[in-house]
Symmetry: C2
Subunit: 271 residues, 2 copies
């Protein structure tokens, strides 16, 4: 199965467009993990197990592991998800981007070392910097288009030939880079108008990874109505902190499951 077909299958099987972000921050962990030497793995595993039934994908964010020197926990977490929830693809959120010969090593990091089904990538260096990811036809490449952060427009809104840079990125990806049909785009939930514009450019077949609901303030109704495709899918609406840290008590897993299910329900009302 390719990432794209796994994702389509999962949208239907789980009736969910929720992507559960796994961003471990030990200071926010429930008290019971205070003496767990393997807390990063244990906490993320518990969240994954509790939320899998509501998830179309998992998205571990690698900086959170790297800052802690927890690469081993990340590898074991992804292996655990593959073994325990085999229908749920894993996107390694690392936003890599480098010259082609180096990008090959980043592709090896994401796809071979961590066995991720997809990886996020930065387009600033151009097509040859993304090619080693694109060449792995069974894996997904989720390319930054219009990001969710306040400063997104600093570069992404600069206007070339009457259209902002992020629209040029969307067009390049859809028309030129997506020859293996394995590209997705990152478009932030905080920019509903831009979600609509990008969907109009790329059509129904390019999935969007949509961060920015929850802690960053994106509105679910606006996201879904503006960004869904004709089938009422096409989205991985990502939530991290609002799910992971829904409770600091012993009900953390249940609270995370509830938060994921509520987001699923909220999304499904507008599909």
């Amino acid at each position: 199965m390719t990432f794209t077909s796994s994702l389509k299958q999962r949208w239907n099987d789980a009736d969910s467009l929720v992507c559960v972000g796994l961003d471990p921050e030990p200071a926010k962990f429930p008290a019971r993990f205070a003496n767990d030497a393997d807390a990063v793995f244990s906490f993320c595993r518990d969240i994954a197990d509790a939320t899998a039934q509501y998830a179309c994908a998992f998205k571990p964010q690698i900086a959170h592991f790297a800052a802690l020197g927890a690469e081993d926990a990340l590898a074991r977490l992804i292996a655990h998800i593959h073994a325990t929830h085999p229908g749920v693809p894993v996107i390694l959120d690392s936003k890599r981007g480098d010259i082609g010969s180096t990008a090959q090593h980043y592709a090896a990091e994401a796809f071979d070392r961590y066995a991720a089904d997809a990886v996020t990538a930065n387009p600033y260096l151009g097509r040859d910097s993304v090619q080693p990811f694109l060449d792995r036809a069974d894996r997904g490449v989720v390319i930054l288009c219009r990001t969710s952060n306040p400063g997104a427009g600093d570069l992404q809104d600069l206007v070339i030939d009457g259209r902002p840079l992020y629209q040029h990125v969307a067009e390049k990806v859809a028309r030129e880079w997506n020859t293996n049909g394995n590209c997705s785009l990152v478009v932030g939930a905080t920019w509903p108008a831009q979600l609509k514009e990008v969907r109009a450019i790329v059509g129904d077949d390019v999935p969007f990874l949509v961060p920015g609901v929850g802690a960053q303030g994106g509105d679910v109704e606006a996201v879904v109505t503006n960004a869904k495709n004709a089938a009422g899918t096409g989205l991985m609406v990502s939530s991290s902190r609002a799910i992971l840290y829904a409770s600091k008590g012993d009900d953390y897993a249940e609270a995370a499951a509830n938060a994921a299910r509520e987001l699923q329900d909220q999304i499904n009302r507008f599909r």
Copy 2:
């Protein structure tokens, strides 16, 4: 000492603008490392020790370590350089870029976990994505401007208000982002005309990290004459493969030293 002051001091002390790139690829290591379980560290350490006297900086490229699961070797390598060659700053080449809250974790990765003196960063997400790096006033932030790879122009050459994107990046960095005086720019050796344009935009005080001489084909004379500042410095001319893999024999360290010294001499002829 800040990164910027360390670098200036080192340009003078070593009379060198050579940045030695540390990109370990075990398949290219000399035969003597075949049975060394710690080959990634041992090889890079030997290269660093052999080339330090000719180097204004070292630049380990993290993808090469990450693909091998060799984060521990990277940490020990940087610690070794700091201990053994304290005047030579270390740039962690990781080209990170993410929303602010995540970028804080990447800053912790580069500056706290690995104790790097500087880090490379991607500007596509805008200022707030770089801010956690900029805020570390004692460390350097080396921002991608015009990269050395063939596809660099795909996005970087798109024209906004009569000027290509990479020039807008150069201007933003020099005029807006560099409030702590800790910014440098990546401008590839493969684009001599662009080196000259960017130097004209940013003036003498923003150092350039210039990859692309050697294996990528950049011309040293064109780089130095177009990109040096008024003091005949301002450059970190990076070479990786041509130094690291100068010999596969037992003379690998001596060959690396010779390659670094030759690049130093070549550069100094045109300063």
